[in-house]
Amino acid sequence: MKTSPALALGALLLAAFVCAAAFAPAIAPYTATQQSLDNDLAGSSRAHWLGTDKLGRDVLSRVVYGARISLAVGFTTVALSIVIGFWIGALAGYFRGGVDQALMRLVDILMAFPGILLAIAFTAVLGPGLDHVVVALGLIGWTGYARLVRGEILSLREKEFVHAAAALGGSPLRVVVRHLLPNVLPALLVQATFGVAAAIIAEGSLSFLGLGAEPPTPSWGAMLNEGRQFILVAPHLTAYPGLAITITVLALNLAGDGLRDRLEKRGK
């Protein structure tokens, strides 16, 4: 099967950001926190390609290091959500009946809160900090995965290979892990790609509102929040971190679209 241009472009852009995150110390000209107070809010120059912020820190270096924060939060959050969502969805789909009803009501309750609202409430209670952001986003982000896994398992569990595995004495745990999980994985992977993008935007929103990363952590959202105070004199502080988030999210959405198309074609 040929790789679609969308998937290729998304994967390429994403690979660039992953490399930036992994090799940030080698790529960034300065560290993320190195200050130069006599050179604050400067525009672009040969020494500082994207200018400096209010403490004279190099914006390019902070954007490069920021990739670490965004990607780490995005992937960790989604990993946590998938682990919770998979098991809750698997329990509901495999055992059906009362277990299914109870778990799906729990999903309905969490889904009664629009998107980021519950994350804001969580971080308001727990206090700011990236670890709290990951916990908040992970604990509320699992519902979509649970619904997906439940739906897939409800249809898969009537298939012959599942009946055969159970008839051969396979425990429910073994049937779920050995036989159902591999079949659910492709759909999970597609949803996870969009999930990472959503988590990156959510972290950015929380940090922008002052509820996420704390100074001097170079989170893109926090950088945008700091840039707000200097929007008149230093618009570059707003431009670059936002561009980095947009390209990362665009890359993930393109990759997700490409993967979904691939999955749909394979299913036909």
Partner: protein, 307 residues
């Protein structure tokens, strides 16, 4: 219809009850002493005891929960710690601003998405179609906390055409509504385009054309009407995203709505107000979902909810 409404409302009750309970648990899960978190470490023990008594925090949790449910049933969301006013009254003063913003955002999204989606579907593969696809890709990727400041830099600071912030007439509303509505416009453009393309392959469209109907009528009367069903669903579902997104947008443009009130409540650790705001947004979201289901049923009578 009556049976459907009753069934739908009955289904909503456990969710509402669960949402209320979750918010109660969340607010009571403040690490450490919630009274100290609200008043600060330097507060005297007499002040702390007085606040704990006022909030009922000196009572067992179950008593507090029952009292909370009783007050909520009467529409009483408690008193704000910061300005001592009633939380319900405070929220009520902010509702018109948030409603104005979200409805304007929705209107902008529809005004962008319908012409663009229809044009893209009618001229598939053309420049307009490619523009629509790019618009929906970027519209979804650009976060509102970046788009807002960018629009502000361009139209308020550089060009000086529109006010920087605050609530006033249509000029004040345009940038916040565009910021909030952009993601919805992107999703809807994509939905309308793909919905129309799919519908145009249906048999009844071929029949309509075979009857000799002119192309404009086929598109508007037959194809678009059927695509509206999915649009209504997306608009309904996206309303929640608009409400949540209003927290960020209102903070950028100093828009005096519930979103900004929520953030101020969080910053001042005014937990009764945080609780009230979160519940109000969640209730509005559920109410809009219910309304979406009802509209969905009205515009497509084939839909039944027998289970």
């Amino acid at each position: 219809m009556k049976r459907f409404l009753l069934h739908r409302i009955l289904l909503l009750l456990p969710t509402l009850f669960g949402a209320v309970t979750l918010v109660f648990i969340l607010i009571h899960a403040v690490p450490g002493d919630p009274v100290e978190a609200m008043l600060g470490e330097t507060a005297s023990s007499a002040d702390k005891a007085a606040l704990a008594r006022e909030l009922g925090l000196d009572q067992p949790v179950l008593t507090q929960y029952i009292r909370f449910l009783g007050d909520l049933a009467k529409g009483d969301l408690g008193r704000s710690l910061y300005n001592q006013g009633s939380v319900s009254a405070l929220i009520a003063t902010r509702i018109p601003a948030t409603l104005e913003l979200t409805l304007a955002a929705m209107a902008i999204a529809l005004l962008i998405a319908f012409p663009l989606g229809i044009l893209a579907a009618r001229r598939r593969g053309s420049g307009a179609d490619r523009f629509a696809l790019l618009f929906s890709l970027f519209g979804l990727a650009v976060p509102n906390f970046w788009l807002g400041p960018l629009l502000m830099i361009a139209f308020s600071i550089q060009l000086g055409w529109l006010p920087v912030s605050g609530r006033g007439g249509a000029a004040h509303l345009l940038l916040p509504a565009l910021t909030l509505g952009m993601a919805m416009a992107a999703i809807l453009t994509r939905m309308i385009r793909s919905g129309l393309i799919e519908t145009m392959h249906e048999d009844y469209i071929r029949t309509a054309r075979a009857k000799g109907l002119d192309e404009r009528r086929v598109w508007l009367k037959h194809a678009l009407r059927n695509s509206l069903i999915s649009v209504v669903t997306i608009v309904g579902l996206q309303f929640g995203a608009l409400l949540a997104g209003s927290i960020v947008t209102e903070s950028i443009f100093s828009w005096p709505g519930i979103g900004r009130l929520t953030l101020q409540a969080i910053q001042t650790r005014d937990y009764p107000l945080v609780q009230g705001c979160v519940l109000t947004i969640a209730f509005s979201y559920l109410a809009v979902n219910l309304a979406t289901d009802i509209i969905y049923r009205i515009i497509d009578p084939r839909i039944t909810y027998e289970d």
